[in-house]
Amino acid sequence: MRILFTVFGSRPHIYPLVPLAWAFRTAGHDVRLAGPPLWATEMACTGLPFAQVGGCPAVTPMVRDEVAGAMFTQQPWPADWTAHVGSLTARQWAYLESVGRYLVAAAAAMVDELVAFARRWRPDLVVYDSFSYAGRVVAEVLGVPAVRHLSGPDSAQRLELAQPGPHPLAEYRALFERFGVPVMLDAHAAVDPTPPSMRLVVPERLRQMRYIPYNGPGCTPQGLTTRRKRPRVCVTWGHTNALAAIAGTWPFRVAIDAIAAQGMDCLIAAPTAEVDKLGALPESVRALSAAPLHLVLPYCDGIVHQGGDGTALTAAAAAVPQLVIPASPEADMVGGRIVATGVGIAVRYDTAATVADAVRRLLSDVAYREEAVRLRAEIESQPVPAVVASAVAADLANG
């Protein structure tokens, strides 16, 4: 079979698709990854053949900054809001719709070239990142099944809807109408690597998959693997926060200082340019420029992060207790899942003392570590991508 994987871009949405794409490939199927040219390097680093489709003309840096600005200036949202969208305020719905329109614009910018590519390449199946709507359109245009691929608890959101649902945004409808095909909101299956106890919203036609971390290629940095004398805590703030200059990174600077002040070693996993903005750092702090998180966390006793899907799942797969400092509604929800599963703490930043106290509790209470080990075992008991790929292929063969 030929299987087309589609992404609108950004690492958090490319990375999660990679294990399933490798699984189809090593089962003998032909695979293409399709996404915008801006992400060609990230696509090439997966080792998979890829197609560059569309630019991002409709998604200017201004639009992106506007969405990010709205994202990082929200007051805290209820931790379980994705399960109760109907109870949100009109203002909160408006925020969700603005994010949805941003994602639809990203889809609109690539869908024509994606359809043209797919008509040439004739895939038998389209697997699309759950926020990469162009993939759902192309499957309908070609009349082939579509599999929605989630990337963690946050990706279960239905941002293509006019909130609070159930009808789609007019812009989303237009994506389908320009090709004269019916508007589709569902998929033939939803592959989700979120472990059940971390999941808040169960997607329809769920196909559970084990989370296998892929955070780009690379190697474990020197000096991490020897026995450590003091506890070591990793600090990272993810790719979306890094883009959102508006939010700054200072809650994480506070966390770094708190870790150092408590006599622990601190590892910063962030691009060098980001780390440079932090100013002079305590001596026990080490900045790693480009190491995949899953090759660093096995040598850490805790992690402080921004509450992204990929970071939370990578830490969960490594059984590392987590402190989430959320700054957006999405991160509030992911932080809520970390608390609900017992593997860590979530605190919105207010004072340095709050962060310092959370760091201390994370490392001193063994319950977080015990629950983290339990959650890792839960992840490891799910069907691996190899099994999911063969199940999806069998479903197709049986019509």
């Binding site: 294990p19 699984a23 490939r25 090593t26 090439a44 080792g47 998979l48 084990r210 190697c219 063969s390």
Partner: protein, 360 residues
């Protein structure tokens, strides 16, 4: 479980191992790809987690050129030479011994680091290419099972037979005797390419992997012939001219183009190449008829194997190129045989099937 995949050779050794390494990963195992500093960039483009072992064999430009000119300056060897090694001339045996010594030197340059990493990381299995002999040393020292991946060469090139003294010295350096049993092997050669020199091994389907990349904009109108030659130098001008004379479009592809062969071949009716396993197996797996013009002993036997299937014409003299290209494009028998060869390959167990067999 933890699986260490060690590669001493360049891209031609790395690429065929990638699907198996991915298969371990998507089956839930932890994988490390080990290679020299020189392979770092190519390794990064597999998406796998990597570890650098050694900086690679240092050769002067003159040494490298001499090695290549010896390899590609051989008069044609009989294609079935691996079946009758006793019939080789003393010059041919000298050539194999020289290649054996070179292979041991390549292995030696990464062996110490590989042993150190194995002792530290404690893999449950080591898979290595034909040149990464240090993997077998590391496996013996740590008691870890080890399997040699021969990427379609069917274990023809046996360093231990060609340079026994140097091979033994390498093992001795780590306090070990030369192994008395042949290594366990995984190989991707389909049965229709066997010539009777094969050793038992775990069969695996050849999954095409030529690195990441995008297909150039091509469409299928006239017949199209792809001409490629890797490091073999370029005796293929005749092929380019012959294809043009036959009314076909010609697409030349070199390593510098950075275009994966398998993204081009779906738009080609035939491929002309030097007889490398990566190129030949890629074309075979995609059902494309081949003209194989070989100038090196290992390529000679590989070209012979492809010709046996009926999907290829094998030449050791490029003077016959024009007639061969014409025949390849006009006789539908080659296309039919190419489809049979592809089906033969597709019947083999996939890398995903092989994973549980290797981890037993």
């Amino acid at each position: 479980m933890r699986v260490l995949v060690a590669v001493a050779g360049g891209q031609s050794h790395l690429f065929p191992l990638v699907p198996l390494a991915w298969a371990f990963r998507v089956s839930g195992h932890d994988v490390r790809l080990a290679g020299t500093m020189r392979s770092a960039e190519a390794m990064a483009h597999t998406g796998l987690s990597t570890v650098t072992v050694g900086s690679g064999l240092k050769m002067t430009r003159a040494e490298r050129e001499e090695l290549l000119s010896t390899a590609y300056g051989q008069p044609p060897w009989p294609p079935a030479w691996p079946v009758h090694p006793q019939r080789l001339t003393s010059g041919q045996n000298r050539y194999l011994a020289g290649f054996g010594r070179y292979s041991v030197a390549v292995a030696d340059a990464m062996a110490s680091d590989l042993v150190a990493f194995t002792k530290h990381w404690r893999p449950d299995l080591i898979v290595h290419d034909t040149l990464a002999l240090g993997a077998r040393i590391a496996a013996t020292l740590t008691g870890v099972p080890c399997v040699r991946y021969t990427h379609g060469t069917q274990d023809v090139f046996r360093v231990e037979d060609y340079a026994p003294a140097e091979h033994a010295a390498l093992f001795h350096r780590f306090g070990l005797r030369t192994p008395t049993t042949p290594p366990s092997c995984v190989d991707t050669m389909p049965p229709s390419m066997f010539i009777g020199a094969e050793r038992p091994c775990v069969d695996m389907r050849w999954i095409v992997h030529n690195g990441p990349g995008t297909a150039p904009p091509l469409s299928a109108k006239r017949p199209r012939v792809c001409v490629t030659w890797a490091a073999a130098g370029n005796p293929y001008r005749r092929a380019v001219e012959a294809a043009a004379t036959a009314g076909a479009d010609v697409l030349t592809l070199t390593a510098a183009d950075q275009v994966p062969l398998h993204l081009v071949l779906p738009y080609c009716d035939a491929v002309v190449h030097h007889g490398g396993e990566g190129t030949g197996m890629t074309a075979a797996a995609m059902g494309v008829p081949q003209l194989v013009i070989t100038r090196e002993p290992l390529d000679d036997q590989f070209g012979g194997r492809l010709a046996r299937t009926g999907a290829a014409i094998h030449l050791t003299d490029s003077r016959d190129t024009a007639a061969a290209v014409e025949k390849l494009l006009s006789d539908p028998g080659y296309q039919e045989a190419a489809v049979r060869l592809r089906e033969d390959i597709e019947r083999q167990p996939t890398p995903l099937d092989v994973v549980p067999r290797l981890l037993g």
